[in-house]
Symmetry: C2
Subunit: 270 residues, 2 copies
Amino acid sequence: MTAWGARLAGVRGVLLDISGVLYDSGEGGGKPIAGSVEAVARLKRSGLKVRLCTNESQKSRGRLVGELRHLGFDVSESEVTAPPPAACQILKERGLRPYLLVHDEVRSEFDEIDTSNPNCVVIADAGENFSYQNMNKAFQVLMELENPVLISLGMGRYYKVTSGLMLDVGGYVKALEYACGIEAEVVGKPSPEFFTSALQEMGVEAHQAVMIGDDIVGDVGGAQRCGMRALQVRTGKFRPSDEHHPEVKADGYVDNLAEAVDLLLQHADK
Amino acid sequence: MTAWGARLAGVRGVLLDISGVLYDSGEGGGKPIAGSVEAVARLKRSGLKVRLCTNESQKSRGRLVGELRHLGFDVSESEVTAPPPAACQILKERGLRPYLLVHDEVRSEFDEIDTSNPNCVVIADAGENFSYQNMNKAFQVLMELENPVLISLGMGRYYKVTSGLMLDVGGYVKALEYACGIEAEVVGKPSPEFFTSALQEMGVEAHQAVMIGDDIVGDVGGAQRCGMRALQVRTGKFRPSDEHHPEVKADGYVDNLAEAVDLLLQHADK
């Protein structure tokens, strides 16, 4: 493989996935991944631009940032690109009134949205709210629409919490797509619009940016399709088979965020 | 379209779907579809061979037949081809110990199967048992296996009860397939093995048989792929758009089972 110097040449901005890179979520707010608190601090001091780019859709950004700060991370809400605000903008622009199949914690992000007499479904990582009753309600709303619109906050297959792997929203989107014979519109990674808005908010072009994530498809593959480089960390939901993925090859595999930052500080433009 | 006489020539055996053809299931045992009780009786008196071929996986065959008899249908358990016994045979042959993601009512069909230390998942229409917790358990079982085996009892998209449309097992299979990156083995319609075993139990060749169902894909398309003819009834989950399905065209569309039986008694071999 090419030397790291060549692979990281010209990098001016870094997009960081949160869950599985900064911390593993779980009971009591989860645990930071070893070395990640210091790695974020070093990165922010380095002169490289940094933005957090997450598909977190179980928590409001305020709650998420509060938990990260509690774990020692120096981050603020304005540094986070997350799906719910992007979804709200789409709903407003198109006059859509969603049935919200979301986690209770994230419902407040949709406070300004009219949810009466739904003409679409918004689905996010709803956790325990993925009951049969709620899924069936979403299904029935979609089946009654002439032009069913299903907006999904991310397409994650699963994520890791301290107690193990957990089903993410993607499977539930596939369930509704199959049952209704429709295709969802995805807001969040790996949607190109979502990566692009994170790049714009950071003020860096795609070819100058690197994504660091634990999801070989959603983070690495998605960022690469936008013209970015991407590293996969061997933390979070990483599995050894990811390094031999049939379709996606990262620009590099690193043990954790700390190693990625070491390499960036040696080789990237600052 | 060709005259009914030509379309039904040489038919000697009839496979009947149950839900949406004989009755609409629902609270209190559901309701018979108008004319279907008499239609089944006439069919059985006609000399044509008759077999019930269902993907019902929420109830044991005993319970299902009990409900049908209560509604006035003259049917017995030995006339029913259903997925659970077919699944049990596969589990025994291959030494598989399933985690059962099924409805409480159908669990008794698996009484003879060892479910300790699961090395596969069996999924059926579990209704309210499709909780996040149970889906996540099935996901975790599959993710821990070197060669994950997911056996699905049917791939139905939805079914109709008296109160409306309900999500069926198919979507939940798609969810696990996506999350785990695997493909399920389907027992039940539209699996060719399942139709073939129903034909064998009836003692009729595929080209001599007609399937009557309300599901354009699972019943009509599945039966046709096995070399049978198939009629779709405009009851149950039928939707007008089914008559213009992009991939499947029934050999005929009839208003209900009563009309199908009228046509069969006029035109089929007896």
